[in-house]
């Protein structure tokens, strides 16, 4: 590794920064590519570094999850892997942004339309009656025309309203169908990942127990009851660790001893 802290460049598999006022969390974030400073050049850390890349006394650890990630770093595979990749790809494909909907429109009152239909019928009756007796029908014709025009406008408006309504409903439904599909896939993915994790933990439980025995720290009743620091060290000893591990613990005699025990490059903070 190559690490640059405030103008000084450190190289090699073991770097001791105890004399420098450097925060271990910052260094660990840089190693994982979450920060640019301090500048670190080292191999890409595998996913297990998200759990155990920085070992310090106040850490917490989901041991099984970390152990599963460690098993992945060693190239372990599970029968669920194909299904996991498949669900991931499907989830990534699902386009799920809310659609544009036309604005909602107020409905046309049915009673207004009924009233107008009645008015048209009345005017038509009056017109027929006047024409039958040969009376002047100009006013009756005009009244009929006006009412008919108004009715037809309202009917057009009603058709437009129902079209808008249908469009809003169908777009919303398609969107919600996608959300449901997304939820179903996410559930499936979570279940698959859980069982993959269980498979991995099962397969490396014995190796992990030996690692727990080999790292310094209090001896737990069972490997999975180990305190977070011991568990993290056990996980790291088992994991493939090409990138430097940040240690902020006094468990080891020296940073070099730590590097030997974990078979990993080490930054001691």
């Amino acid at each position: 590794m190559r690490l640059r802290v405030a103008g000084t460049t450190y190289t090699g598999a073991v770097v001791d920064l105890r004399a420098r006022n450097v925060d271990g969390q910052t260094v660990a974030a840089s190693i994982r590519g979450r920060r640019c400073l301090p500048a670190v050049s080292c191999p890409e850390p595998p996913a297990v570094y998200a759990y155990t890349g920085h070992v310090h006394p106040s850490m917490g650890l989901r041991t099984r999850t970390a152990l599963a990630a460690a098993a992945r770093s060693r190239g372990y595979e599970t029968p669920q892997d194909d299904a996991i990749a498949d669900r991931r790809a499907k989830l990534a494909e699902l386009e799920c942004s809310p659609p544009e909907l036309p604005d909602p429109v107020d409905p046309v009152s049915e009673s207004t339309i009924d009233g107008l239909q009645e008015a048209v019928a009345t005017h038509r009756g009056r017109l027929t009656a006047r024409q039958a007796v040969g009376a002047d029908d100009e006013a009756a014709q005009a009244a009929l025309r006006d009412a008919a025009t108004e009715l037809s406008e309202l009917e057009t408006q009603r058709a437009a309203v129902s079209e808008t309504r249908e469009l809003r409903r169908s777009r919303a439904r398609a969107y919600r169908d996608t959300l449901e599909e997304q939820r179903r896939l996410a559930d499936e993915l979570a279940n698959l990942r859980r069982s993959a994790r269980a498979t991995l933990v099962d397969r490396c439980a014995e190796t992990f127990a030996r690692a727990i025995d080999a790292v310094p720290g209090p001896v737990p009743d069972s490997p999975f009851d180990a305190d977070p620091v011991t568990a993290a060290l056990g996980v790291l000893r088992f994991a493939k660790t090409p990138a430097p591990v940040v240690l902020e613990t006094d468990r080891f005699r020296s940073p070099t001893a730590a590097s030997d025990c974990l078979d990993a490059p080490v930054v001691r903070c």
Binding site: P98, P99, L101, A172, Y175, R176, L179, E180, R183
Partner: protein, 111 residues
């Protein structure tokens, strides 16, 4: 009544909160859905959720239902099918040869 269905975690959380705070307008609460009373206040609460969460909140008008709201032949079909002797018989096979509507026929007719 108004059926309010939520499609995201935040919408679901707010639905739960509304149900807790305004029990009187909640007829029934299910996991991520609830039935609100058909009052302006029920609609107000449903619309609040819709304003906040957009399409992640679906609101539907729900009408009370009685079996008698459905044509007689549908009721008869349901009754006779549920009284069948062979539990494994699918409805389609059960209906054919009897005086019962076939499923496609039922599918094509709006209530």
């Amino acid at each position: 009544m108004l059926l309010v269905v939520t499609y995201s975690r935040p919408a679901r959380r707010d639905l739960r909160n509304v149900c807790r705070a305004h029990e009187a307008c909640v007829v029934r609460q299910f996991g991520r859905a609830a039935l609100f009373s058909g009052t302006e206040f029920g609609a107000f609460q449903a619309l609040r959720l819709h304003e906040k969460h957009g399409l992640d909140v679906q609101i539907e008008h729900v009408e009370p239902f009685e079996p008698t709201d459905v044509p007689k032949h549908v009721r008869k079909a349901a009754k006779r099918y549920e009284a069948r002797e062979e539990p494994a018989t699918p409805y389609e096979r059960f209906a054919s040869g009897r005086d019962l509507p076939d499923p496609d026929q039922l599918r094509g007719v709006d209530l």
